[in-house]
């Protein structure tokens, strides 16, 4: 089968977002984090571990009528730093860019230190982290200095959702 034909297996969408080059096996995690309340409109196509020229294998998500918030984009960058976002309007890709990990992450996931002030109920404060390393991913809580690595971050992302 030629690569063109392989691509055809994935449904095209009219308007929405295609998240490409997701780390193989991570598409379901990404999906879990996105706000997809509109059951009527948000039809979703998932491809898991499909062949990729650049990555060997990759996951891919296409979501009809969904445009990512900056927070969602940051969350995807945390789970899959090489993912690319394609914005599709009238069947055409109108915008394409890699996900970008901001230097500071505010209110995206909870600190893993239960004694951190950001985890105390009713205090008017959001979690805030500084990205101290991208590879391996490490963040530092700007309140309690707690260091968190990739596995903990993913765990907290899904818990905080």
């Amino acid at each position: 089968m030629n690569p063109e034909k392989k691509k055809m297996k994935i449904t095209r969408i009219e308007n929405g977002t295609a998240i490409d080059h997701i780390a193989p096996g991570s598409a379901l995690k990404v999906l879990e984090l996105l706000d997809l309340k509109d059951e009527k409109k948000n039809s979703i196509t998932i491809a898991i571990r499909v062949d990729s020229n650049e990555m060997g294998k990759k996951d891919l998500l296409k979501i009809e009528d969904k445009f990512l918030t900056p927070t969602e984009s940051a969350m995807i960058a945390l789970i899959s730093p090489d993912a690319t976002i394609n914005i599709i309007k009238s069947f055409e890709v109108t915008e394409k860019h890699p996900v970008e990990l901001p230097e500071e992450l505010t209110g995206i996931f909870d600190c893993s230190n239960p004694n951190c002030i950001t985890n105390q109920e009713r205090e008017p404060v959001e979690s805030k982290f500084k990205v101290t390393d991208k590879d391996p991913l490490t963040v530092r809580c700007l309140y309690c200095d707690n260091l968190m690595e990739e596995e903990q971050i993913t765990h907290q992302l899904i818990r905080s959702k």
């Binding site: 004694n115 002030i117 008017p124 309690c144």
Partner: protein, 309 residues
């Protein structure tokens, strides 16, 4: 010279430069003149001491410092009977009290609490201890005591002995010592070794600590020993604790045998320091606690930008 601390909060020691630490200590030296007779530099000014978690020594030392500067203090020593017990948030408590006072000192069981308070207020906040994270004025007074006892910090051998794993004091002091040219000995029982990530951080920052177990040998090499409390609850059973606690007891015999190094301890002590050393000239743990007053006077005057003397 403009005062870089005017109007600022003092939350942690880790973000301070050597020059900043030295300038507070220089000012503390000037405060020695007033620590017993007082000054009126802070007349009319009020400090709020908010102790969401009790700590008698820290609170009294801050109160003494503010009063010696000529100011006054209001606050609570614990949350008992306060609006906190009725469920008021930290944020609401500090915003209310900040309406009454010029500066706040707070101690709170949650890490990051002082930073949150500082971010909400437009008056200075001093962190008097936030959970297991920071207690920067303790570290300042420890550095000041080392400097005062040894004349200067650079060029000396300093041994930290006891619990180096859980003790906030030695963690923070070892980080601050990275600004200095010192030989650092880390002497602890196997179970209470300094955590790897901190050890790595110290090495990265140019301090090459020596990890040791032989207490007599460490004392012999050190100009100054900083002992910490070894806590029962860190051990699986009482027998194990007693064995270690006994091995880490510093007494007069041991000090005299090892050339009388200066001896510090953040207090309260349990069995780490035998009372038979108390009258030795180099036993400075009570003076160390006392040094909290000029150091805190210096810090308060920096943050409130007071003219003293």
């Amino acid at each position: 010279m403009p005062n870089p601390f005017a109007g600022e909060s003092f939350i942690s020691i880790g973000d301070k430069t050597r020059d900043q630490l030295e300038s507070i200590m220089d000012r503390a030296e000037l405060m020695e003149k007033y620590r017993n007779k007082g000054t009126d530099a802070a007349r009319g000014l009020l400090m709020g001491t908010l102790f969401f978690e009790p700590s008698t020594r820290t609170r009294l030392s801050f109160q003494a410092a503010m009063k010696r500067l000529g100011g006054d203090v209001i606050g609570f020593p614990s949350t008992e009977g306060t609006s906190v017990q009725k469920g008021e948030t930290l944020a609401d408590t500090v915003r209310t009290v900040s309406q009454y006072v010029n500066i706040i000192v707070m101690r709170h069981p949650s890490e990051g609490s002082a930073k949150l308070a500082a971010s909400l207020l437009d008056i200075p906040v001093i962190n008097g201890g936030d959970g297991s994270a920071n207690h920067p004025t303790q570290t300042l007074l420890d550095l000041y005591t080392i400097r005062k006892e040894l004349g200067r910090i650079d060029g000396h051998t300093i041994a930290l002995a006891g619990d180096l794993r859980y003790s906030r004091t030695t963690r923070s002091l070892s980080r601050a010592l990275c600004h200095y040219d010192v030989k650092l000995i880390l002497n602890s029982p196997e179970q209470l070794r300094m955590k790897k990530d901190l050890l790595y951080e110290l090495e990265e920052r140019g301090l090459n600590p020596v990890v040791a177990s032989d207490l007599e040998k460490s004392l012999d090499e050190a100009d100054l020993v900083y002992a910490t409390r070894i806590q029962k609850e860190r051990f699986p059973n009482l027998a194990e604790y007693e064995k270690v606690a006994h091995a880490y007891e510093i007494d007069r015999d041991l000090l005299e045998k090892t050339g009388n190094p200066h001896l510090m301890h953040p207090l309260p002590r349990v069995t780490e320091i035998n009372p038979d050393v108390d009258d030795l000239e180099n036993s400075v743990f009570f003076e160390q606690a006392g040094n909290g007053v000029p150091v805190r006077m210096a810090l308060i005057s920096d943050l409130l930008d007071l003219e003293v003397g």
